[in-house]
C-alpha cells in the first residue's frame, strides 16, 4: 500500500482512487490551502478518495487565494508592499472561474504599483524582473540588463530579443518570454513536490502551457495524483511561518486568524532565524488564553482515547505505543493539565513540519 493510503481503496495503482489517510489529508490542505483541515473537513474526507479531494480543492477560490499569497511572498510583496488594487485582489476568483490564467495573473501582479514601489529604480526593477520572472542571473547578462534599464527609462531598445520602449514593455516582454513558464513551473514543482522537475518533462509542460496557459490547473492536478507526490509525502519540511500561524489557529479554534493576525504574527516569526522559540511562545499564549475549547482532564471519559485522537489530528499519524503510554502516564499526574498535553505536541518540531 502506498503512502497516500492508510486504508485500502481496492483500486490498484490508480493514485486518484486511493483512500485518504490523515497524513495525505493534512498535507494536501497545507500544500493547496496553506492551512490544516477544519474539523468538518477531516470528518468529511477521512477515508475518502484522493482524486475527489484534489478536484474539490482545485475548484475552490480558497486554493487560488493561497496560490496568490505564495506568489506575493515570492516577490516579497508583503506588509506595506502588498497590492491592494482590485485587479490583484480579484485574481483568485477569476482564476477559480477560469476567466484568466496564471500568466495573466502574474502579469497583473508585476504591473501593480506595489511591484514598482518594492523594486524602485531602473536597475532594481529590471534586475528583479529578469531574476524573479525568468530565472536569469543578471550578472551573466550585463548587456541585457543595460538594455532593459534604457527601455524602462522610455528609450526604444530590443530587450530579450523584443522591441520595447517603456517600463510596461519590460514586464510584457518578460511575461511573454519562453523562460517565463520554465521558471514558474520549476518553483511550483519544487514547492509542491519538493524536487526540481525532470528537464524533458519540464520542456513538454512549458510548450503545452505556452500554447494553452489554462492547462495549468490540469498540470497541478496531475502532479498531486502522481507517484512523485506520494514520494514527497515521505519527506518532511518546515511549515512556513504563515502556514504555521494559520494551521495553529485552525487546529485550536477551528477558524482562520484574520489577515492582520497572520501578517503580524507571521511577520514576527519571519524575523527570527530560528522561529522555534517564538512559535512555542505563541502556542503557550493561545493555549492559556482561555479562548480555546479544551476539555478538563476530569471531564474526559477516557484520557488515553483523547490523547490517541490528538496525534492524527495534529501530526497526521497515529501515536506509537511508547508515545501513548508516556503521555497517558504523564496525564495521570494532577500537575499535568490538558493544556500541557497539547503544548507538548504543538510545540514539538514534528508539528512544525509536514
Amino acid at each position: 500500500m502506498g503512502i497516500l493510503a492508510t486504508s485500502s481503496s481496492g483500486e490498484g495503482d490508480d493514485p486518484s482512487a486511493v483512500g485518504l489517510g490523515h497524513r495525505t489529508l493534512r498535507a494536501l490542505h497545507l500544500d493547496l490551502l496553506g492551512r490544516s483541515p477544519y474539523r468538518a473537513e477531516r470528518e468529511l474526507w477521512h477515508g475518502g478518495v484522493v482524486g475527489e479531494l484534489v478536484e474539490s480543492i482545485l475548484e475552490g477560490v480558497e486554493c487560488w487565494e493561497h496560490w496568490l499569497e505564495e506568489q506575493l511572498y515570492y516577490f516579497l510583496l508583503i506588509d506595506n508592499f502588498r497590492p491592494q488594487s482590485d485587479s490583484v485582489r480579484s485574481l483568485p476568483e477569476a482564476l477559480a472561474d477560469r476567466r484568466l490564467d496564471v500568466r495573466t495573473a502574474l502579469h497583473r501582479i508585476a504591473l501593480s504599483p506595489n511591484f514598482d514601489q518594492r523594486n524602485p529604480g531602473a536597475d532594481t526593477f529590471v534586475t528583479v524582473v529578469m531574476e524573479q520572472l525568468l530565472g536569469i542571473e543578471v550578472q551573466r547578462t550585463p548587456r541585457e540588463l543595460e538594455i532593459g534599464k534604457r527601455v524602462y527609462d522610455g528609450h526604444p531598445g530590443t530587450f530579450l530579443g523584443v522591441r520595447g520602449s517603456s517600463q510596461a514593455d519590460v514586464i510584457r516582454i518578460a511575461i511573454e518570454d519562453e523562460r517565463f513558464f520554465t521558471r514558474l513551473l520549476e518553483r511550483e514543482h519544487e514547492r509542491l513536490l519538493r524536487v526540481l522537475p525532470e528537464r524533458r518533462a519540464l520542456k513538454t509542460w512549458c510548450i503545452e502551457l505556452d500554447r494553452d496557459p489554462s492547462a495549468y490547473t490540469n498540470l497541478i492536478r496531475s502532479w498531486l495524483l502522481s507517484d512523485a507526490y506520494r514520494a514527497r509525502l515521505a519527506t518532511r519540511r518546515e511549515l512556513s511561518n504563515r502556514t504555521f500561524v494559520r494551521s495553529l489557529f485552525v487546529d485550536l479554534f477551528d477558524r482562520l486568524p484574520d489577515q492582520e493576525e497572520v501578517r503580524r504574527l507571521g511577520g514576527a516569526l519571519d524575523g527570527l532565524s530560528d522561529a522555534g522559540p517564538l512559535r512555542s511562545t505563541l502556542v503557550r499564549i493561545l493555549l492559556d488564553s482561555g479562548q480555546v475549547s479544551i476539555p478538563d482532564r476530569e471531564e474526559l471519559p477516557s484520557r488515553r482515547a483523547w490523547i490517541a485522537d490528538l496525534f492524527p489530528r495534529f501530526l497526521g499519524r497515529a501515536a506509537s505505543a511508547h508515545e501513548l503510554d508516556t503521555f497517558a502516564e504523564s496525564f495521570k499526574d494532577p500537575a499535568c493539565r490538558s493544556e500541557t498535553v497539547l503544548y507538548a505536541i504543538l510545540s514539538h518540531t514534528e508539528y512544525a513540519t509536514y
Binding site: I78, V128, S273, I285, H348
Partner: protein, 375 residues
C-alpha cells in the same frame, strides 16, 4: 536605561538563562592573547550609502566621524553592486555573492558567524545579528556549506518584525502565558522526549523566548520615525551587547534605500541612524565590561549613483566610483587611531579581518585581512 543580564534573569527565566549562557559568562578572554578585543560590533550601515553623505559631510554623521577620528578609515573600500541582499551577505561570507535581489534563501558559502562558532566552539548565544529588513535577512544566519551550516549559525532577530506595537497588541489580546510549575514542566519534558526528533538546545531556546518577551516591554516597540526599523535594529543590538556581552553582534540597516525616490529622506535616514548608532556607541563606552574590549566596524554594502534620477532620488546601478567605493570605519582598543588608509581594500575583507581578530580562519572567504589596521 542601562540593562544588565541581572535584569533579564530577574524577569523570570533565571534557571533557563543561566544554563544557556555558561560560555557567555566564562569565555571573556581573547583567543589572541596579544589583543584586547573581546567583542566585535559589526554594523552594515546598509541600504546603499555614498561616502559623500557620510564622511564627506561629517555634520550628517557626528558619531561615525568621531569613530573615524579615533580609529582607522579605509576610504577606498571596493564593493560590487550585487543588490542589497547579495552585497550585504558578501560582508559576512567574504565572497562576492551574486544573489537575486528578492531571493529569499541561504547562500552557498559559510558566514563569519559559522567560522567563529565552529573554530572557537562558541554557543549560539555568543553570536547575534540584529536586522531591519524582514524575512530575507534571516538568511544571513548561516550558509549551506556542508562543513558548516545551521549548527553554527547566528541568532537573527529582526527588530521591526518582532518588536512592533501591533504584534505586542495581538499578543496582549490573548494574555500572558501561565508560568509552568516545576512538576508540570518535568511532565512536559517527559512527553516531549517521547516524541521523535531533535528538540535542539531547549535552554538556549528558552532564553531567546524570554528575551523576546522582555524586549517587548522595554519600549523598542514604540520607536517611530523614518528610520524606525533601523533604529530598532540598533536598539536591539545595544540591549544584546549590554545584557549578554556576546563575542559578536552584527547589525544590518536598510532604510537608506528610500533614496531611490527621495534624496532628502535618504539623508534624514543617515542622520537618524547615526544618532541611533551614537546611543549604541555610548552604551559601549559607558560599560566597564565593554569599553576597553570592544571593536566597532562600520561600512555600507555599496554606495549609490553619482547623479540624481528623474525623481530627484538616487538609484544604484551606474557603475560609478560613488557606487563602487565606500568607506569602512574601524574603531577599537587594538586599532590605530586617526589613521586613513588610502589603498584599495574590499568589503569582503571584513569577514577575514574579524575572524582573524578572534583567531578563527575564514577558510572559504576570498577577502584578506584589512591592512594597516592594528596599532
Amino acid at each position: 536605561m542601562t540593562l544588565t543580564r541581572r535584569d533579564l534573569l530577574k524577569s523570570g527565566a533565571a534557571a533557563a538563562a543561566a544554563g544557556a549562557f555558561p560560555a557567555s559568562l566564562s569565555a571573556r578572554t581573547a583567543l589572541r592573547p596579544e589583543l584586547k578585543t573581546r567583542h566585535v560590533l559589526l554594523v552594515a550601515f546598509a541600504g546603499g550609502i555614498r561616502t559623500r553623505e557620510t564622511l564627506g559631510m561629517p555634520a550628517n554623521v557626528p558619531t561615525l566621524a568621531s569613530l573615524a577620528r579615533e580609529g582607522v578609515v579605509y576610504s577606498r573600500t571596493r564593493t560590487a553592486n550585487l543588490g542589497h541582499f547579495g552585497a550585504t551577505m558578501s560582508l559576512f561570507t567574504g565572497v562576492s555573492e551574486a544573489r537575486g535581489i528578492r531571493e529569499n534563501a541561504r547562500g552557498p558559502d559559510p558566514t563569519l558567524f559559522e567560522y567563529l562558532r565552529k573554530d572557537l566552539g562558541l554557543p549560539a548565544s555568543e553570536v547575534w545579528i540584529s536586522t531591519s529588513g524582514g524575512a530575507q535577512q534571516t538568511n544571513y544566519s548561516h550558509g549551506l556549506h556542508p562543513d558548516y551550516g545551521t549548527a553554527f549559525g547566528a541568532n537573527v532577530l529582526d527588530g521591526d518584525g518582532i518588536f512592533n506595537s501591533e504584534f505586542k497588541t495581538i499578543l496582549e489580546s490573548y494574555g500572558r502565558p501561565r508560568i509552568l510549575e516545576p512538576a508540570e514542566s518535568d511532565l512536559l519534558d517527559r512527553m516531549r522526549q517521547s516524541l521523535p526528533g531533535d528538540e535542539g538546545d531547549a535552554q538556549a531556546r528558552a532564553t531567546v523566548e524570554q528575551y523576546i518577551m522582555d524586549e517587548l516591554t522595554r519600549g523598542t516597540s514604540e520607536l517611530r520615525g523614518p528610520n524606525s526599523a533601523d533604529a530598532k535594529a540598533l536598539r536591539v543590538a545595544r540591549n544584546l551587547l549590554s545584557i549578554f556581552k556576546p563575542k559578536l553582534v552584527s547589525v544590518v540597516l536598510q532604510q537608506a534605500d528610500v533614496a531611490h525616490g527621495n534624496f532628502n529622506a535618504y539623508v534624514e535616514v543617515i542622520r537618524k541612524n547615526d544618532a541611533a548608532l551614537g546611543e549604541l556607541v555610548e552604551a559601549v563606552r559607558a560599560d566597564p565590561d565593554l569599553a576597553d574590549s570592544t571593536a566597532i566596524i562600520v561600512l555600507p554594502e555599496f554606495g549609490r549613483d553619482s547623479d540624481l534620477n528623474s525623481r530627484r532620488g538616487l538609484d544604484h546601478g551606474d557603475g560609478s566610483d560613488d557606487l563602487n567605493y565606500v568607506s569602512t570605519v574601524c574603531w577599537g582598543p587594538d586599532f590605530r587611531r586617526g589613521a586613513e588608509v588610502g589603498e584599495t581594500v574590499r568589503t569582503i575583507d571584513v569577514c577575514s579581518t574579524v575572524c582573524d581578530m578572534f583567531g578563527a580562519r575564514a577558510r572559504f572567504a576570498r577577502g584578506k585581512r584589512l591592512p594597516k589596521l592594528l596599532a
